[in-house]
């Protein structure tokens, strides 16, 4: 039997409850179980994470097609720069009788 092939797994980590998941780095592992162990050791052993996501790199959809992401023609009309949303929202609130929402809690 040949030894199992190592492949890259990407590790995302959350520093504290409510924080976004951020890419931490990657580990090489032969399977899901050991990938989880190594992710724990490399990105959690110093109590720097409260959650990890471990994803086989091959399972990630990699979209880097510049025709799709950076199309060549002018796209400025898709950006909201021409609108001052604050005033429009304030006016809409007056019409609907709703107050300004509080900052969202975690």
């Amino acid at each position: 039997m040949t030894s199992p092939r190592l492949e890259p797994w990407e590790v995302f980590r959350q520093e504290k409850d409510g924080a976004p998941m951020q890419h931490g780095g990657s580990v090489m592992a032969p399977d899901r179980e050991l990938a989880t162990h190594y992710a724990r050791e490399l990105f959690g052993r110093r109590q720097e994470s409260v959650r990890l996501w471990v994803v086989k790199r091959a399972d990630i959809v990699d979209l880097a097609d510049q025709d799709l992401l950076q199309p060549p023609l002018d796209r400025s009309f898709k950006k909201p720069g021409g609108y001052v949303m604050r005033d429009k929202l304030a006016a809409a609130r007056v019409v609907s009788g709703q107050s300004k929402p509080k900052a969202r809690s975690k």
Partner: protein
């Protein structure tokens, strides 16, 4: 229960045996740093080894409070003959299969021992054990994952694992060597059950894993009464290794 009511000598022997177990397996496994089978595993086994040394430090600190000794002095300044770790840990590091077999045996046995101490009547130890239990869970997961892979990973991996179990088997149950004045610990409600009962519990716990992987169960330990004595040549070597730095400049603050 107040500290005065604690059977000090018996608790001291218990703490010393546990601390020495953790200290010795920690140092043995740290021998893999830099040469583990793979970079990620190198980090993992080194981190595990550090955990064990950390557990030893906490247990030596508790022992020091009891005896008035300096925890570092207990850890380092004894002659090899005064250490009370179990004979399971008196083997050279060997190959990866040897390390995994020993870790699996020790971690599962230690788990049973910790269970018997959790909720004990002496709060300082019961509190510490509560924390150790949470950390040791990960250690058992790591050992199990690797035991599976070696047992089912092809001829060479399996034959190396079987060789390791043959070497370690007769010493496996020495984790449950009787402690001096064990009855006093049970009487005081510090240890829930005597060691032979814990050994039975451990065998029941690991039985299904050994059966599933078609591995031979460890035989009864030879000379259990001396299971934590007479450490031999492999430990003499390790003792010298872990003492080298401290012995190079006695009394200095690092």
């Amino acid at each position: 229960m107040s500290v005065a009511a604690v059977p000090g000598v018996a608790v001291g022997e218990l703490l010393r045996s546990m601390a020495d177990d953790e200290f010795v397996i920690g140092f043995s496994d740290s021998e893999w740093t830099g040469i583990a089978p793979q970079l990620e595993e190198d980090v993992a086994i080194s981190s595990l080894a550090q955990d064990e040394i950390g557990h030893a430090a906490a247990l030596y600190a508790l022992l020091g409070e009891l005896t008035g000794e300096d925890p570092d002095a207990i850890a380092y300044d004894r002659e090899p003959v005064a250490y009370r770790h179990c004979r399971l840990l008196d083997h050279r590091r060997g190959d990866w299969a040897m390390t995994i077999a020993r870790r699996f045996i020790y971690d599962t046995a230690d788990g049973v021992r910790l269970e018997a101490l959790a909720g004990g009547s002496w709060a300082p130890l019961a509190d510490l054990v509560g924390k150790l239990v949470r950390e040791e869970r990960y250690h058992r997961m790591h050992a199990s994952v690797w035991l599976d892979r070696l047992a089912c990973g092809g001829d060479e991996a399996r034959s190396r694992l079987l060789a390791a179990l043959t070497t370690l088997g007769p010493d496996a149950a020495t984790v449950f060597s009787p402690l001096p004045d064990e009855a006093a610990l049970i009487e005081a409600g510090i240890l829930a059950s005597p060691m032979p009962e814990l050994e039975t519990r451990w065998r029941t716990a690991i039985g299904p894993t050994f059966a599933t992987l078609d591995l031979p169960m460890p035989p009864p330990a030879r000379d259990l009464a001396h299971g934590r004595l007479d450490h031999g040549e492999a430990f003499a070597w390790l003792w010298h290794e872990f003492n080298t730095v401290r012995a190079s400049e006695p009394g200095v603050t690092w």
